[in-house]
């Protein structure tokens, strides 16, 4: 298991990426690690490139922002363009293939139909699923950077209501990505 992770959650304003970053950091702390989270966003509350950065480490964190990402979650075309082909080949890129059509190659580049899954769960079960939470589940499933359990605990702490829906969303994202987790012992 890697000791240091630099994670970028990128997309558009309004997708809940800042909250996702806070949840990811909180979950890492619950897993007994150190974490630092920063965010950058435009002045508009919706639209525009927004990103949340989380550094997770077993040891002390010297510099708290991302220098060279190990994991990128891209939820918009603009976010994917910013990182695809510009980061190390070892960097895991997970992108929403239902929002971003196209053929993106790379041994660690994974398109997952995250938004389609959100819509599917709404139709099948009538759940008000949030893309950010489902994507965090997928991130955990594919990389093992934080445990599913810790994410659930972080959500419980952050939100007073809707825990069951969020738990199901997390699990759906996790299961979708789990089939080819890169670092988890399987």
């Amino acid at each position: 298991m890697k000791e240091n992770w630099q994670v970028v959650l990128a997309g558009e304003g309004g997708q809940g990426l800042v909250v996702a970053g806070i949840l990811l950091g909180e979950a890492a702390v619950m897993d007994g690690k150190n974490a630092a989270q920063t965010a950058s966003y435009g002045i508009a509350s919706r639209g525009g490139l927004t990103q949340s950065e989380v550094v997770i480490s077993d040891g002390d964190i010297a510099y708290p922002a991302v220098e060279d990402p190990d994991i990128v979650l891209a939820l918009s075309r603009g976010a994917l363009d910013k990182y695809y082909g510009k980061v190390s080949e070892e960097c895991i890129i997970i992108y929403d293939s239902s929002l971003i059509p196209g053929d993106f190659k790379g041994k660690r580049v994974f398109g997952l139909p995250l938004s389609d899954k959100v819509e599917g769960l709404k139709k099948e079960k009538g759940l008000r699923v949030a893309l950010n939470v489902l994507s965090l589940g997928a991130l955990s499933g594919r990389t093992g950077v934080v445990s599913l359990n810790a994410l659930e605990e972080a959500i419980k702490k952050q939100f007073k209501r809707g825990f069951e829906t969020n738990r199901e969303s997390l699990k759906a994202g996790f299961d979708m990505a789990r089939s080819s987790c890169y670092f988890c012992s399987q």
Partner: protein
């Protein structure tokens, strides 16, 4: 036992203030400090404390001076433009010897310059913003844990030396979230102001003890408290004589400047054998430590110093940390060179270089590293 939380720097400052015993906040919210006001409004009332939203920063500063003199540890928070408005009453607090804490979460200036972006342009405003001969204590956290720890320390220094103390952070530290141990008050040293022990009739609010600091009564006590922002005698009545002006100014200056050994604090990274040492503070110090580590990998004997006390400049601590092999200093800051002026003044026997950025973005480890390589050749 304390609690481990995942908090924003701004929130950690409030946790630190509460742990130190602060029970009064008056402020006027401003980006990027607004979360301090928000957290203070959540935390203080349930503890029997007070949160007051004021009409502006002039009134905010006046309110914390008044509440402190009534006996409550008091604080406010702002950013550069608000600190400008507080300067008049900050001077009053210095002259009147009023303990209080001001949290300044710096942003890009001057004026409304870069209202939502990053800068460290308040180095000299915190030192010299209010007029007249004076000195002041400024502490500078570089992590969320230090936001907690150094806010506690700011209250302690403020109470001990009967003077205002500024906690200077920046937009990035204020909004950064990290793991923080919110220590229980029973686990930390907490200093309260000296109270008068003499009979009420003998009390003179500006009669200093041997340490240069007068005990402080509270308004409403049997010990009659008189506060005066003009040159005053021991009883607090105006005294404009040349002898008194000379002596009082000197006492106010000495009570802080003669105690740099106690007030000054730094954090070091591999300075012992370093040939070049980066001097920095706030979030730039995090970049500095990282770039010194990268420089070592590249064969440059670099070290770094974070100033946890910015003012008074912790000269003896920095001098002690620098080893015999150090000949060069690199001052890293997000402004056009303010701390560099002090470093150049103090270390006349060293070559002092600068690395600056004032674009509204953080100074990155690789940018400091590039400059290190440049000046190490």
């Amino acid at each position: 036992m304390g609690k481990v939380k995942f908090l924003q720097g701004n929130h950690a400052c409030v946790e630190g203030a509460v742990a130190a015993g602060a029970r009064f906040y008056a402020g006027y919210p401003i980006t990027p400090s607004s979360e301090v006001a928000q957290a203070a409004s959540d935390k203080l009332p349930p503890l029997g404390g007070y949160y007051v939203q004021m009409e502006d920063e002039i009134a905010s500063m006046a309110a914390i001076v008044g509440s402190s003199l009534s006996g409550l540890k008091s604080f406010t928070a702002t950013s550069g433009p608000g600190l400008s408005l507080m300067q008049e009453n900050l001077g009053m607090a210095i002259m009147g010897e009023v303990p209080c804490v001001i949290i300044d979460v710096a942003r890009g200036g001057p004026s409304t310059g870069l209202a939502t972006k990053q800068a460290q342009g308040d180095v000299m405003q915190t030192r010299w913003g209010t007029h007249g001969d004076h000195t002041i204590i400024v502490v500078t956290p570089a992590s969320v844990q230090e936001c907690f720890d150094l806010t506690v320390r700011a209250f302690n220094l403020s109470e001990k030396y009967r003077t205002p103390v500024i906690v200077l952070t920046d937009k990035t530290i204020g909004h950064l979230r990290e793991k923080v141990d919110v220590r229980d008050p029973s686990e930390i040293e907490i200093i309260d102001r000296k109270r008068p022990t003499c009979p009420p009739g003998d009390y003179k609010p500006y009669r200093a003890d041997a340490d240069g600091i007068p005990p402080l009564a509270a308004y409403g006590d049997k010990h009659l408290l008189r506060i005066n922002s003009s040159m005053h005698g021991e009883e607090g009545f105006i005294n404009q004589s040349p002898q008194n002006a000379t002596a009082l100014s000197k006492r106010l200056y000495d009570k802080i400047e003669n105690n740099v050994a106690d007030i000054g604090r730094i954090k070091t990274f591999q300075t012992e054998d370093a040939e070049i040492v980066i001097i920095s503070f706030g979030i730039s110090a995090r970049s500095a430590f990282r770039s010194a580590a990268l420089a070592r990998q590249a064969g440059i004997k670099a070290g770094a110093i974070q100033l946890q006390t910015l003012w008074p400049f912790p000269r003896p601590q920095v001098q002690e940390a620098l080893g015999n092999s150090c000949r060069r200093l690199l001052v890293a800051e997000m402004n056009m060179g303010q701390l560099a002026l002090e470093v150049e003044r103090v270390f006349t026997d060293m070559e002092v270089y600068r690395v600056n950025k004032w674009s509204g973005e953080d100074l990155l480890p690789r940018e400091i590293l590039d400059r290190l390589k440049e000046v190490s050749e």
